[in-house]
């Protein structure tokens, strides 16, 4: 986080350490926006984090005020953005297997429909190869598109 006011080196180091801890463990990024004589405005955005602990908007505001108030006598105002998971996050190997079973879709058909190598899909489904949100989106929207075709 940008050093918001003139801090001594010890305090500036503490501010950096605290900002890093929030980012590393909570995916919480805190940014300086502006300040005047009485107020400091900060922006806090929680992103996806590995421990998957997410705060509500109220909790983010309280946490940021509590954490950073020791660095200033001014009143802290916080604009908070909570983490909202993409719907494609549900496309785990277990979810894909369930969708295949529910719709009676064979691996062979997925290979044809998606144009992806059988070995890659198989490795994803069996959990042998991790995949990111791009692949998750592919699987998620593939199965959803099948629902649309049935509805047509």
């Amino acid at each position: 986080m940008k050093t918001i006011t003139l801090l001594n080196p010890t305090k500036a180091k503490e501010l950096k350490v605290i900002s890093d801890l929030l980012r590393k463990h909570g995916g919480l990024y805190v940014y300086y926006v502006k300040e005047n004589e009485n107020f400091i405005t900060l922006k806090a955005i929680q992103k996806k984090n590995h421990s998957e602990n997410y705060l509500t908007q109220k909790q983010i505001i309280e946490r940021v005020k509590e954490t950073f108030s020791k660095f200033t006598d001014k009143t802290i105002r916080v604009g908070a953005t909570i983490y909202e998971a993409s719907p494609v996050e549900v496309a785990t190997p277990v979810w894909i297997k369930k969708q295949m079973h529910r719709r009676n879709i064979a691996l062979k058909r997925m290979v044809k429909d998606l144009g992806v190598a059988k070995a890659d899909i198989s490795a994803n489904i069996n959990g042998h190869k991790k995949y990111g949100n791009r692949s998750k989106a592919m699987y998620y929207y593939y199965f959803n598109s099948l629902d649309c075709q049935v509805a047509d």
Binding site: K13, E14, V17, I18, D20, L21, L22, R23, K24, H25, G26, G27, L28, K47, N49, H50, S51, E52, N53, L55, Q59, R63, E66, T67, K130, G132
Partner: protein, 107 residues
């Protein structure tokens, strides 16, 4: 150990902002106060990972990592559920601050 190191490197790559995991399960730690172990400070790159991993495996089997300034850093972490005990460990390990994983409270 090398397979474990490779898996940890992969987790680090996928979570550059940071992670804390149990060893050898690689499951994320989701609650408790995190205290970085002073003996594994400034461990980065492959050599740093090996040092932190070796230490973590013989100590309390928790390792953390993050990406900063072009390097992947690793440390053996201590996770303590009790705040008072965590604050004692904070002093012992000369940490400026510690964090609660679940609430993101800083102490």
């Amino acid at each position: 150990m090398n397979t474990l190191a490779k898996q940890i490197k992969e987790i680090a790559k996928q979570n550059p902002q940071g992670f804390t995991i149990y060893l050898p399960s690689l499951e994320p730690v989701r609650n408790g106060w995190v205290i970085a172990n002073i003996k594994t400070q400034n461990c980065f790159g492959d050599a740093g990972l090996q040092k932190a991993l070796k230490f973590a495996m013989t100590y309390n089997r928790i390792i953390g990592g993050w990406f900063d300034n072009g390097n992947y850093y690793f440390d053996a972490s201590i996770v303590e559920p009790n705040k008072e005990k965590a604050l004692i460990l904070k002093e012992l390990h000369k940490q400026i601050a510690i964090i609660n994983l679940e609430t993101l409270e800083i102490a």
